[in-house]
Symmetry: C2
Subunit: 231 residues, 2 copies
C-alpha cells in the first residue's frame, strides 16, 4: 500500500503549514499510517490539477486521489476501520461536521487576520505575490492593515475559545479522554499559526494552551518537532 | 417506573420555557419516555432544594433526583441503552460536550439579550420581580436597555449560526441524517425564545429556519403544540 500527501509549504519544504493539511497529518498519525510528503506550493496548481483539485491536502492512496481534509478523514475512517477510530462511532462522525465548520470559521477564520502578514515571509517570491494579491482582494486592504489591529483582535479570538474551556472542565480533549479528529480539526489551526508566525495566540494559563501542549507532544512530538515558532 | 420532570413555567403552567428543560423534554421524547410535568417557578427554590438543586430541569426517576440537563441526557443514555441513542456512540457523547457549550454560549447567550425584556411578561409578579432584579444585576442595566439594540443584535446572532448552515450543506441534522441530542441542545434555545417572545430570530429562507421547522414537527409536533409565538 502506498500513501502520499500533498502538503502546502513555502521556501522550507520541511515546514508544512496549512491548517487543513495538519488536520490530515494528525489523522494519519492517529491511524498509525505514514504518508510520503509531497511538498506543494501555492502556485503549483498544475501539479495537483490531474488529481482533480486546486487545493491541498490531496491524499494519494495507491495513486487514487482523495481531496479535501474532511473527505480524507472520512476516507481514512472507512478504509482503515481496524485502526483507532477518528470519530468514535457514527454519532461522533456526524457531530464532527459542525465542529469542522466551527474550526473553519472560529479557529482558522479567527486566526487568519492575526497572522496574515507573517505568512508571505515564509514563501518564495512568486508564491508570496500570489498570496498577497489573492488575500488582499478577499480582505479589501493590504495584509499589513488587516494585521495591524491584532493586539486587540487576539482578545476577541481568545474569548471565542470559551466553548473549549467549558469542555475541558469535564474532559481532557474535545474527543473525550483521548484526542480524536475533533481535536485535530482545531489543532490544525493552531499548528498553522505556530509554523508561520511568532505571534502569541494563547496565554500560558489558558486551558486551551495546556491542551495544545498535549497535542504538540502527541505521536512522539510530531507537531512540536516540525519547524515552528515557540509560542 | 416513574419519571417526573420539574420544568420552568410562568403564569401559564402549560407553557414550559427554559431552554435547558426543552433539551430534556426532547431527549425524553427521543428515548420514547414520558415524564409527568411538575411546573416550577423561579421563586419556588424550596420545592427543589430537597433534590439538591437550585435550578431546573430536575428529573425524578423513581424519586431519585437527576440534576442538570447535560447530566440528565447522559443518565437517560446510560439507563435506557436499548432505546434510540441520544449520542450515537461514545465519540458523539464526547463531541456533544463542546456542542453543549456552544449551545450555552452562542445560542442561549446569543438569544438572551434579544428577548430578555419579553420574559417577565410571561411571569407572575413575584417571579417577574426576581427575574428583573437578578438579571439586571448580571447585565448592569435595565432589561429594556439590554434589549433596545436587538434589531442590530439579531444580525450578529444570525451570523453566529453560520456553523450550522455549513453543516446543513451535507447533512439534515447536527446529529446526522436524523436528529439527536446535538440538535436538542441547540433547539432548546430556539424553543425558549418561541415560547416567551414574538421577536423574529430567523429569516424564513435560512437553512436554520428549515431545520427548526423540522424539530417543531418532531415527536408528533410536541414543541409546536406547546404554546408559543408563531415566529
Amino acid at each position: 500500500m502506498s500513501l502520499k500527501l500533498y502538503e502546502l509549504v513555502g521556501t522550507d519544504a520541511s515546514r508544512p503549514f496549512s491548517p487543513y493539511c495538519w488536520r490530515t497529518r494528525m489523522a494519519l498519525a492517529h491511524k498509525g499510517l505514514t504518508a510520503e510528503s509531497l511538498p506543494w506550493r501555492f502556485t503549483e496548481k498544475s501539479e495537483i490539477a490531474p488529481h482533480g483539485s486546486e487545493k491541498v491536502p490531496v491524499l494519494l492512496h495507491d495513486d487514487k486521489p482523495v481531496v479535501d481534509s474532511w473527505t480524507i478523514a472520512n476516507y481514512l475512517e472507512d478504509h482503515f476501520p481496524d485502526r483507532p477510530s477518528l470519530f468514535g462511532g457514527e454519532g461522533g462522525r456526524a457531530m464532527a461536521r459542525m465542529l469542522n465548520a466551527w474550526g473553519d470559521i472560529a479557529i482558522i477564520g479567527g486566526i487568519f487576520p492575526l497572522i496574515i502578514a507573517d505568512i508571505p515571509k515564509n514563501l518564495a517570491e512568486v508564491d508570496a505575490a500570489y498570496f498577497r494579491k489573492s488575500r488582499e482582494a478577499r480582505f479589501g486592504k493590504p495584509l499589513e492593515e488587516v494585521q495591524a489591529s491584532r493586539d486587540t483582535g487576539v482578545i476577541a479570538f481568545r474569548k471565542s475559545l470559551e466553548v473549549m474551556r467549558q469542555t475541558f472542565k469535564t474532559q481532557a480533549y474535545l474527543g473525550g479522554s483521548a484526542p480524536n479528529y475533533a481535536d485535530y480539526i482545531v489543532f490544525g489551526g493552531f499548528q498553522w499559526a505556530r509554523v508561520v508566525s511568532p505571534f502569541r495566540l494563547l496565554e500560558a494559563d489558558d486551558p486551551v494552551y495546556a491542551w495544545r501542549e498535549k497535542l504538540l507532544d502527541a505521536f512522539d512530538g510530531m507537531a512540536r518537532k516540525s519547524p515552528g515558532f515557540a509560542v
